[in-house]
Protein backbone atom coordinates (compact mmCIF):
# COMPACT_ATOMS: atom_id res chain seq x y z
CA UNK A 1 0.00 0.00 0.00
CA UNK A 2 2.65 2.39 1.13
CA UNK A 3 4.69 1.39 -1.89
CA UNK A 4 1.93 2.29 -4.31
CA UNK A 5 1.36 5.72 -2.75
CA UNK A 6 5.03 6.42 -3.06
CA UNK A 7 4.98 5.29 -6.65
CA UNK A 8 2.01 7.47 -7.38
CA UNK A 9 3.61 10.55 -5.85
CA UNK A 10 6.82 9.89 -7.71
CA UNK A 11 5.13 9.60 -11.07
CA UNK A 12 3.00 12.64 -10.27
CA UNK A 13 5.98 14.86 -9.68
CA UNK A 14 7.80 13.50 -12.70
CA UNK A 15 4.80 14.18 -14.90
CA UNK A 16 4.05 17.61 -13.43
CA UNK A 17 6.50 19.68 -15.47
CA UNK A 18 5.21 18.12 -18.69
CA UNK A 19 1.60 18.96 -17.96
CA UNK A 20 2.57 22.55 -17.23
CA UNK A 21 4.54 22.72 -20.43
CA UNK A 22 1.83 21.17 -22.57
CA UNK A 23 -0.57 24.03 -22.08
CA UNK A 24 1.77 26.94 -22.41
CA UNK A 25 3.09 27.19 -25.95
CA UNK A 26 0.84 27.29 -28.96
CA UNK A 27 2.01 25.55 -32.09
CA UNK A 28 2.59 27.77 -35.06
CA UNK A 29 3.36 26.37 -38.47
CA UNK A 30 5.63 28.23 -40.84
CA UNK A 31 6.01 28.22 -44.59
CA UNK A 32 9.78 28.00 -44.51
CA UNK A 33 12.37 26.82 -41.98
CA UNK A 34 14.00 30.28 -42.22
CA UNK A 35 10.84 31.94 -40.95
CA UNK A 36 10.62 29.49 -38.11
CA UNK A 37 14.23 30.20 -37.18
CA UNK A 38 13.62 33.95 -37.15
CA UNK A 39 10.53 33.45 -35.02
CA UNK A 40 12.28 31.21 -32.54
CA UNK A 41 15.17 33.64 -32.26
CA UNK A 42 12.88 36.61 -31.76
CA UNK A 43 10.69 35.18 -29.03
CA UNK A 44 13.85 34.49 -27.06
CA UNK A 45 15.04 38.08 -27.44
CA UNK A 46 11.85 39.92 -26.63
CA UNK A 47 11.04 40.60 -23.03
CA UNK A 48 7.63 39.91 -21.57
CA UNK A 49 6.82 43.31 -20.08
CA UNK A 50 4.39 41.94 -17.55
CA UNK A 51 6.74 39.45 -15.96
CA UNK A 52 9.88 41.41 -16.88
CA UNK A 53 12.35 38.63 -16.20
CA UNK A 54 11.07 36.22 -18.81
CA UNK A 55 11.27 36.32 -22.55
CA UNK A 56 8.03 35.98 -24.45
CA UNK A 57 8.89 32.40 -25.41
CA UNK A 58 8.91 31.34 -21.77
CA UNK A 59 6.06 33.41 -20.49
CA UNK A 60 2.47 32.35 -20.50
CA UNK A 61 1.17 35.81 -19.66
CA UNK A 62 -1.61 37.07 -21.92
CA UNK A 63 0.58 39.83 -23.26
CA UNK A 64 3.33 37.36 -24.12
CA UNK A 65 0.81 35.26 -26.03
CA UNK A 66 -0.34 38.33 -27.93
CA UNK A 67 3.21 39.37 -28.74
CA UNK A 68 4.00 35.84 -29.95
CA UNK A 69 0.96 35.97 -32.19
CA UNK A 70 2.00 39.39 -33.47
CA UNK A 71 5.54 38.15 -34.14
CA UNK A 72 4.19 35.07 -35.91
CA UNK A 73 1.86 37.10 -38.08
CA UNK A 74 4.55 39.54 -39.08
CA UNK A 75 7.07 36.79 -39.88
CA UNK A 76 4.65 34.79 -41.98
CA UNK A 77 3.68 37.99 -43.77
CA UNK A 78 7.30 38.11 -44.92
CA UNK A 79 8.63 40.74 -42.52
CA UNK A 80 12.26 40.53 -41.48
CA UNK A 81 13.70 40.15 -38.01
CA UNK A 82 14.58 43.85 -37.88
CA UNK A 83 11.06 44.82 -38.92
CA UNK A 84 9.63 43.00 -35.93
CA UNK A 85 12.25 44.45 -33.58
CA UNK A 86 11.49 47.97 -34.84
CA UNK A 87 7.78 47.37 -34.43
CA UNK A 88 8.20 46.26 -30.82
CA UNK A 89 10.67 49.01 -29.87
CA UNK A 90 8.36 51.63 -31.35
CA UNK A 91 5.65 50.46 -28.97
CA UNK A 92 7.42 49.23 -25.86
CA UNK A 93 10.78 51.02 -26.02
CA UNK A 94 14.24 49.52 -25.78
CA UNK A 95 13.19 47.78 -22.60
CA UNK A 96 11.45 45.10 -24.67
CA UNK A 97 14.84 43.94 -25.95
CA UNK A 98 17.01 41.69 -23.85
CA UNK A 99 19.97 43.00 -25.81
CA UNK A 100 19.53 46.76 -25.62
CA UNK A 101 21.07 48.77 -28.47
CA UNK A 102 24.39 50.51 -27.90
CA UNK A 103 23.74 54.24 -27.54
CA UNK A 104 24.48 57.17 -25.22
CA UNK A 105 21.80 56.19 -22.75
CA UNK A 106 22.97 52.59 -22.50
CA UNK A 107 26.67 53.43 -22.56
CA UNK A 108 27.19 52.73 -18.87
CA UNK A 109 25.27 49.46 -19.20
CA UNK A 110 27.55 48.16 -21.92
CA UNK A 111 30.87 49.75 -20.95
CA UNK A 112 30.42 49.72 -17.18
CA UNK A 113 31.13 46.09 -16.26
CA UNK A 114 34.25 45.57 -18.44
CA UNK A 115 35.52 48.99 -17.35
CA UNK A 116 35.00 48.05 -13.75
CA UNK A 117 36.82 44.77 -14.27
CA UNK A 118 39.78 46.46 -15.96
CA UNK A 119 40.05 49.09 -13.26
CA UNK A 120 39.92 46.44 -10.55
CA UNK A 121 42.65 44.43 -12.26
CA UNK A 122 44.75 47.56 -12.69
CA UNK A 123 44.53 48.41 -9.02
CA UNK A 124 45.09 44.80 -8.00
CA UNK A 125 48.32 44.59 -10.01
CA UNK A 126 49.42 47.97 -8.70
CA UNK A 127 48.71 46.91 -5.16
CA UNK A 128 50.57 43.63 -5.49
CA UNK A 129 53.61 45.31 -7.02
CA UNK A 130 53.84 48.04 -4.45
CA UNK A 131 53.46 45.73 -1.54
CA UNK A 132 56.57 46.21 0.62
CA UNK A 133 58.69 43.08 0.46
CA UNK A 134 59.13 41.43 3.78
CA UNK A 135 62.69 42.09 4.84
CA UNK A 136 64.83 39.05 5.28
CA UNK A 137 65.61 38.50 8.87
CA UNK A 138 69.15 37.81 9.86
CA UNK A 139 69.51 35.37 12.69
CA UNK A 140 72.47 35.18 14.91
CA UNK A 141 74.03 31.95 16.08
CA UNK A 142 71.91 31.64 19.19
CA UNK A 143 68.70 32.18 17.32
CA UNK A 144 69.69 29.66 14.66
CA UNK A 145 70.33 27.09 17.29
CA UNK A 146 66.98 27.60 18.99
CA UNK A 147 65.29 27.48 15.59
CA UNK A 148 66.88 24.14 14.79
CA UNK A 149 65.76 22.83 18.14
CA UNK A 150 62.26 23.96 17.45
CA UNK A 151 62.25 22.24 14.08
CA UNK A 152 63.54 18.95 15.37
Amino acid sequence: MKQSIRLFLLSFFIALPFTLYAGSIETYTFKTPEQEAIYKGLVKELRCLVCQNQDIADSNAELAQDLRRQTYEMITAGKSRDDVVDYMVLRYGDFVLYRPPFKMKTLLLWVGPPLFLLLSLFFLVKFLRNRPKTAEIELDKKQRKSMRNLLK
Binding site: L49, V50, D66, L67, V89, Y92, F95
Partner: protein, 183 residues
Protein backbone atom coordinates in the same frame (compact mmCIF):
# COMPACT_ATOMS: atom_id res chain seq x y z
CA UNK B 1 48.61 56.50 5.57
CA UNK B 2 48.48 57.03 1.85
CA UNK B 3 45.31 58.28 0.31
CA UNK B 4 45.23 55.44 -2.20
CA UNK B 5 44.10 53.15 0.56
CA UNK B 6 40.82 54.97 0.58
CA UNK B 7 40.08 54.19 -3.08
CA UNK B 8 38.43 50.80 -2.47
CA UNK B 9 36.27 52.31 0.24
CA UNK B 10 35.19 55.18 -2.00
CA UNK B 11 34.46 52.86 -4.92
CA UNK B 12 32.51 50.53 -2.68
CA UNK B 13 30.48 53.40 -1.22
CA UNK B 14 29.64 54.78 -4.67
CA UNK B 15 28.64 51.36 -5.94
CA UNK B 16 26.54 50.69 -2.85
CA UNK B 17 24.77 54.03 -3.31
CA UNK B 18 24.11 53.28 -6.98
CA UNK B 19 22.68 49.85 -6.22
CA UNK B 20 20.70 51.19 -3.28
CA UNK B 21 19.05 53.70 -5.56
CA UNK B 22 18.24 50.88 -7.96
CA UNK B 23 16.27 49.18 -5.22
CA UNK B 24 13.93 52.10 -4.82
CA UNK B 25 13.26 52.56 -8.56
CA UNK B 26 9.95 51.35 -9.87
CA UNK B 27 10.77 48.80 -12.54
CA UNK B 28 7.23 49.00 -13.93
CA UNK B 29 7.73 52.64 -14.80
CA UNK B 30 9.17 52.08 -18.23
CA UNK B 31 9.68 55.28 -20.21
CA UNK B 32 7.07 55.35 -22.92
CA UNK B 33 8.35 55.80 -26.45
CA UNK B 34 5.05 57.48 -27.34
CA UNK B 35 5.46 60.87 -25.69
CA UNK B 36 5.43 63.52 -28.39
CA UNK B 37 4.22 61.10 -31.05
CA UNK B 38 0.81 60.92 -32.71
CA UNK B 39 -1.64 58.62 -30.95
CA UNK B 40 -1.77 55.36 -32.97
CA UNK B 41 -4.92 55.29 -35.02
CA UNK B 42 -7.73 52.93 -34.07
CA UNK B 43 -11.23 52.47 -35.26
CA UNK B 44 -13.12 50.22 -32.89
CA UNK B 45 -16.73 49.31 -32.12
CA UNK B 46 -18.31 51.08 -29.15
CA UNK B 47 -19.44 49.19 -26.10
CA UNK B 48 -23.05 50.35 -25.78
CA UNK B 49 -23.65 51.22 -29.41
CA UNK B 50 -22.45 48.12 -31.23
CA UNK B 51 -23.09 49.56 -34.67
CA UNK B 52 -21.15 52.76 -33.98
CA UNK B 53 -17.41 53.15 -34.02
CA UNK B 54 -14.92 55.34 -32.22
CA UNK B 55 -11.60 56.51 -33.64
CA UNK B 56 -8.69 58.76 -32.72
CA UNK B 57 -9.69 60.96 -35.63
CA UNK B 58 -13.08 61.71 -34.08
CA UNK B 59 -11.41 63.15 -30.96
CA UNK B 60 -9.31 65.71 -32.87
CA UNK B 61 -9.49 69.25 -31.53
CA UNK B 62 -10.03 68.11 -27.95
CA UNK B 63 -7.67 67.52 -25.08
CA UNK B 64 -8.63 64.02 -24.08
CA UNK B 65 -7.61 61.01 -22.09
CA UNK B 66 -7.54 57.41 -23.18
CA UNK B 67 -7.86 55.04 -20.25
CA UNK B 68 -7.11 51.36 -20.78
CA UNK B 69 -9.21 49.23 -18.45
CA UNK B 70 -10.80 45.81 -18.04
CA UNK B 71 -13.26 44.26 -15.66
CA UNK B 72 -10.71 41.57 -14.71
CA UNK B 73 -8.20 44.19 -13.66
CA UNK B 74 -8.16 44.74 -9.91
CA UNK B 75 -6.22 48.01 -9.98
CA UNK B 76 -8.76 49.43 -12.44
CA UNK B 77 -11.39 49.02 -9.78
CA UNK B 78 -9.07 50.83 -7.38
CA UNK B 79 -8.50 53.80 -9.67
CA UNK B 80 -12.09 54.06 -10.87
CA UNK B 81 -13.36 56.46 -8.19
CA UNK B 82 -10.35 58.77 -8.55
CA UNK B 83 -10.59 58.67 -12.32
CA UNK B 84 -14.34 59.31 -12.29
CA UNK B 85 -13.94 62.37 -10.07
CA UNK B 86 -11.14 63.68 -12.25
CA UNK B 87 -13.18 63.23 -15.43
CA UNK B 88 -16.33 64.81 -13.99
CA UNK B 89 -14.74 67.70 -12.05
CA UNK B 90 -12.59 68.83 -14.93
CA UNK B 91 -14.89 67.78 -17.77
CA UNK B 92 -12.22 65.73 -19.49
CA UNK B 93 -13.44 63.80 -22.53
CA UNK B 94 -12.22 60.28 -21.83
CA UNK B 95 -12.28 57.28 -24.09
CA UNK B 96 -12.16 53.96 -22.28
CA UNK B 97 -10.29 51.22 -24.08
CA UNK B 98 -11.89 48.04 -22.85
CA UNK B 99 -8.88 45.77 -23.16
CA UNK B 100 -9.32 42.01 -23.69
CA UNK B 101 -12.35 41.70 -21.50
CA UNK B 102 -14.26 38.48 -20.89
CA UNK B 103 -16.77 37.40 -23.47
CA UNK B 104 -16.21 40.37 -25.68
CA UNK B 105 -17.48 38.45 -28.71
CA UNK B 106 -20.89 39.47 -27.46
CA UNK B 107 -19.50 42.72 -26.08
CA UNK B 108 -18.89 41.61 -22.60
CA UNK B 109 -21.39 40.76 -19.95
CA UNK B 110 -18.70 41.23 -17.33
CA UNK B 111 -17.77 44.74 -18.31
CA UNK B 112 -21.39 45.83 -18.49
CA UNK B 113 -22.11 44.74 -14.94
CA UNK B 114 -18.76 46.18 -13.82
CA UNK B 115 -19.75 49.59 -15.21
CA UNK B 116 -23.29 49.30 -13.89
CA UNK B 117 -21.87 48.72 -10.44
CA UNK B 118 -19.07 51.31 -10.42
CA UNK B 119 -20.45 53.94 -12.76
CA UNK B 120 -19.45 54.91 -16.27
CA UNK B 121 -17.54 58.19 -16.55
CA UNK B 122 -16.37 57.58 -20.14
CA UNK B 123 -17.53 59.61 -23.12
CA UNK B 124 -17.15 56.48 -25.21
CA UNK B 125 -15.81 53.00 -24.71
CA UNK B 126 -13.87 51.27 -27.46
CA UNK B 127 -13.85 47.48 -27.42
CA UNK B 128 -10.46 45.89 -28.06
CA UNK B 129 -11.27 42.20 -27.91
CA UNK B 130 -7.95 40.80 -29.08
CA UNK B 131 -5.74 43.46 -27.56
CA UNK B 132 -4.39 44.62 -30.92
CA UNK B 133 -4.96 48.29 -30.21
CA UNK B 134 -3.37 47.57 -26.83
CA UNK B 135 -0.22 46.41 -28.62
CA UNK B 136 -0.26 49.54 -30.79
CA UNK B 137 -0.26 51.62 -27.63
CA UNK B 138 2.42 49.50 -25.98
CA UNK B 139 0.06 48.50 -23.20
CA UNK B 140 1.71 46.08 -20.79
CA UNK B 141 0.00 46.65 -17.49
CA UNK B 142 -3.62 47.69 -17.24
CA UNK B 143 -4.67 50.31 -16.19
CA UNK B 144 -2.81 52.82 -18.31
CA UNK B 145 -3.84 56.36 -19.16
CA UNK B 146 -2.70 58.50 -22.07
CA UNK B 147 -3.16 62.27 -22.27
CA UNK B 148 -3.63 63.35 -25.88
CA UNK B 149 -3.62 66.95 -27.09
CA UNK B 150 -5.78 68.77 -29.63
CA UNK B 151 -3.52 67.73 -32.49
CA UNK B 152 -3.72 64.08 -31.53
CA UNK B 153 -0.23 63.93 -30.03
CA UNK B 154 0.36 61.81 -26.92
CA UNK B 155 1.74 64.16 -24.28
CA UNK B 156 1.78 61.99 -21.20
CA UNK B 157 1.36 58.40 -20.15
CA UNK B 158 0.46 57.17 -16.71
CA UNK B 159 1.06 53.49 -15.98
CA UNK B 160 -0.86 51.87 -13.16
CA UNK B 161 -3.83 53.07 -11.16
CA UNK B 162 -4.26 56.85 -11.21
CA UNK B 163 -4.15 58.20 -7.66
CA UNK B 164 -5.18 61.53 -6.17
CA UNK B 165 -1.58 62.74 -6.05
CA UNK B 166 -1.12 62.14 -9.77
CA UNK B 167 -4.40 63.92 -10.53
CA UNK B 168 -3.54 67.04 -8.51
CA UNK B 169 0.14 67.29 -9.30
CA UNK B 170 0.31 66.09 -12.87
CA UNK B 171 -2.93 65.48 -14.74
CA UNK B 172 -4.92 68.62 -13.91
CA UNK B 173 -2.06 71.10 -14.54
CA UNK B 174 -1.25 69.29 -17.78
CA UNK B 175 -4.85 69.29 -19.01
CA UNK B 176 -5.22 73.01 -18.24
CA UNK B 177 -1.97 73.78 -20.03
CA UNK B 178 -2.87 71.74 -23.09
CA UNK B 179 -6.27 73.42 -23.37
CA UNK B 180 -4.46 76.74 -23.86
CA UNK B 181 -2.62 75.40 -26.87
CA UNK B 182 -3.97 76.13 -30.36
CA UNK B 183 -5.81 73.31 -32.06
Amino acid sequence: MKKTHLIPLVVFTLLALLLYRGLSLNSRNIPSPFIGKPAPAFDLPRLYQKDQRISVESMKGKVWVMNVFASWCVSCRAEHVVLTNFIRNHKVPTVGLNYKDYGTEDYGEEVLSWLAQLGNPYSAIAVDTEGRTGIDYGVYGVPESFVIDKKGIIRYKFTGPVDQKAVIETLVPLILKLREEPA
